[in-house]
């Protein structure tokens, strides 16, 4: 029996497979979400079948969770991220997840999610902000992360995606190096994320989601929070892992 968590985010879809017999995660994998949640859900189904992960209990989460027609249960990404993060990092902390569309922070007390906040309608401080800026620079988002070079004189003052874009245009027009603008972009996101999560201030933080793999972002975030930020190599799978673990409880009932 497998407990499978599927987390359909706006950029990538994460899958976690938990083997109930040996109580371990057997496999974690991800695929780009593409344009259609339904299509990726079908694709995942085929993969699961091929790998012989049935019988299983499937829990879907993420903003595309409704597309997973074959799911046994669906739940919000907030709860999943909390449980997944607590599995990887079992300490009291505030979990920060910077998603493609929304950024959330969840406070964990005694292994339980106690409170959470999400960004409002605005895209500042979400993955979308960085994506739009990378496009504007004409580089790939990974390149943005790897080439970023510190220049403290280059700062993006607007947190608004639209205004920041025009700031970048004028920086480029003034001949500022792309790598330095890239740094400014990451720093400005980290600052916005830190201020968003201010209300759930804590002693330590755990960064989950895609940006957990970008050490520059993690370090800048720690700077702005003035606290230590932890993560895990599998933190991008937090949502999916949390979903699997919820299956552990739900499957019985």
């Amino acid at each position: 029996m497998y407990l499978i968590g599927i987390d359909i985010g706006s950029t990538s879809t994460k899958v976690a497979v938990f083997n109930k017999n040996d109580q371990k995660f057997t496999e974690l994998f991800l695929r780009p979400t593409g344009f259609s949640g339904v299509k990726i859900a079908d694709e995942i189904y085929e993969i699961l079948k091929e790998k012989n992960y049935f019988p299983s209990f499937i829990t879907a989460t993420g903003y595309g969770r409704v597309s997973v027609k074959y799911a046994n249960f669906t739940t919000t990404e907030i709860l999943c991220h909390a449980l997944g993060a607590n599995f990887l990092f079992p300490k009291d902390c505030t979990v920060i997840d910077v998603g493609g569309q929304d950024t959330k922070a969840i406070k964990i007390v005694a292994n339980r999610p106690e409170d959470f906040i999400m960004n409002d309608k605005c895209s500042a401080g979400t993955g979308k902000f960085i994506e739009v800026m990378a496009n504007r620079l004409g580089i790939d988002i990974n390149e943005l992360y790897t080439t970023a070079k510190k220049n403290l004189n280059i700062k993006l003052s607007s947190t608004c995606t639209v205004f920041a874009e025009s700031e970048i245009i004028s920086l480029m027009a003034n001949g500022v190096d792309k790598t330095q603008i890239a740094y400014g972009i990451i720093d400005s996101s980290a600052q916005k994320v830190a201020s968003l999560t201010k209300r759930l201030e804590n002693e330590i933080y755990f960064l989950s989601g895609g940006l957990s793999r970008v050490s520059l972002f993690k370090n800048l975030l720690a700077n702005h929070l003035q606290r230590e930020v932890f993560t895990d190599e599998n933190a991008i799978f937090c949502g999916a892992m949390g979903a699997s673990l919820i299956g552990l409880k739900k499957e019985k009932s």
Binding site: T75, T76, L79, D115, F116, M118
Partner: protein, 370 residues
């Protein structure tokens, strides 16, 4: 039973035209601070003008800033576009100096309608009470003059009594939901509270309320329910009913109480019937636990009591975008909720449907964590 209120509401929008034809003074109000007893005593009918949908907001943007509370913009939009039958029927509109947005909106509104603004103090101390009492006396004189009718000790006392009776019944009705499971669905209660504002014949309203309360009591069932129980507080909830109240129910939780102007703010506290009536009225209204008041500590206290009395698991604090006073009070209410053992979430939103998805996710996560 529930149909009665709906039907009454429909019928009463026609009724309003009849009342007008009969020459009854119609007084438009925007706030629970409007002293309804005085309007009643002069033979008038108070109608609520708070708009609760976004259709007229764009018209208001011609004159009002975008980042203003949607309630103010929508209400103003209705006044300017002349689309609201209640607004059109009003002979005068009474306003109070509550929040800055409303205060300044009344200035503009005066270009379209006769507006009378009462100076509501920002504090609740002795001097504030004296000022507020003075304001009520002037308002009383204004009403007598304007509508050529006398407010006597007798008809004022009658007005006080009938409003007290109405308040008691409304409180009794709302408090039925202390039972587990709560007998009246939150969405239904909201509709009743809302519709009841549009029943002008107080005697008829009292009769309907009594019957409804009786019927509900008869049907109380002792069932086990593990549904999570939620208290709504904050800004008026009329404009976000679908997005929040209905949605909470769709997600399987119960809304058990409304600590806002649709609910308890409007009905708790009675006017003392002995002594100087105007002063008693002034006192009653200054008790309203609204965030526009300096040191509005009562609200946190009430939230704590409600959490216990209604066995609530969670508190959802509605903040309309642009409402500073309620936004700032969120911290206080968060602390009060935690102290009383309930989870808390504030939700900032407006009248548009744009953020329905996000609101849903937030509500869902909130309920999951209860």
């Amino acid at each position: 039973m529930r149909m009665d209120f709906d039907k009454l509401k429909k019928r009463n929008s026609f009724e309003l035209q009849n009342l007008k034809a009969e020459g009854k003074p119609i007084v438009g109000t925007f706030c629970t601070y409007s002293p309804k007893e005085l309007i009643y005593a002069v033979g008038g009918v108070a109608v609520s003008l708070c708009a609760n949908d976004e259709s007229s907001i764009n018209i208001a943007h011609k004159e009002l800033p975008r980042n203003l509370c949607p309630l103010i913009k929508a209400s103003y939009g209705y006044a300017v576009s002349k689309k609201c039958p209640y607004m059109n029927a009003s002979d005068i509109i009474v306003g109070e100096t509550t929040c800055d947005g409303k205060k300044k909106m009344y200035e503009l509104l005066a270009n379209h309608k006769p507006v009378y603004v009462l100076e509501l103090p920002n504090m609740t101390n002795k001097r504030s009470l004296a000022l507020w009492k003075d304001e009520l006396i002037s308002f009383k004189e204004f009403l007598q003059e304007k509508f050529k009718a006398k407010i006597t000790q007798e008809n004022l006392l009658e007005a006080v009594k009938i409003h007290n009776e109405e308040r008691e019944l409304m409180c009794e009705l709302m408090e039925l939901n202390k039972a587990i499971p709560s007998p009246i669905k939150g969405s239904e209660l909201h509709e009743i509270l809302f519709a009841s504002e549009f029943i002008y014949d107080k005697k008829e309203k009292i009769k309907t309320l009594k019957a409804f309360i009786e019927a509900t009591k008869q049907n109380l069932e002792a069932k086990i329910s593990d549904k999570k129980r939620i208290i709504i507080t904050g800004c008026p909830s009329g404009g976000v009913y679908e997005k929040i109240i209905k949605q909470i129910e769709n997600l399987g939780a119960d809304v058990v109480a409304f600590e806002n102007c649709v609910g308890t703010k409007n009905y708790r506290n009675l006017v003392e019937e002995e002594g100087n009536l105007i002063e008693n009225i002034a006192k009653r209204y200054l008790e309203i636990p609204c965030s526009v008041m300096y040191k509005n500590d009562k609200r946190a206290q009430i939230i704590k009591e409600f959490i216990k009395e209604y066995s609530a698991d969670g508190v959802i604090d509605i903040v309309l975008s642009g409402c500073h006073t309620y936004a700032i009070e969120t911290n206080k209410i968060r602390e009060a909720s935690k102290e009383a053992g309930a989870n808390y979430m504030s939700l900032e939103t407006d009248y548009s449907r744009q953020d329905s998805g996000q609101i849903r996710t937030r509500l869902e996560a909130f309920i999951e964590l209860l």
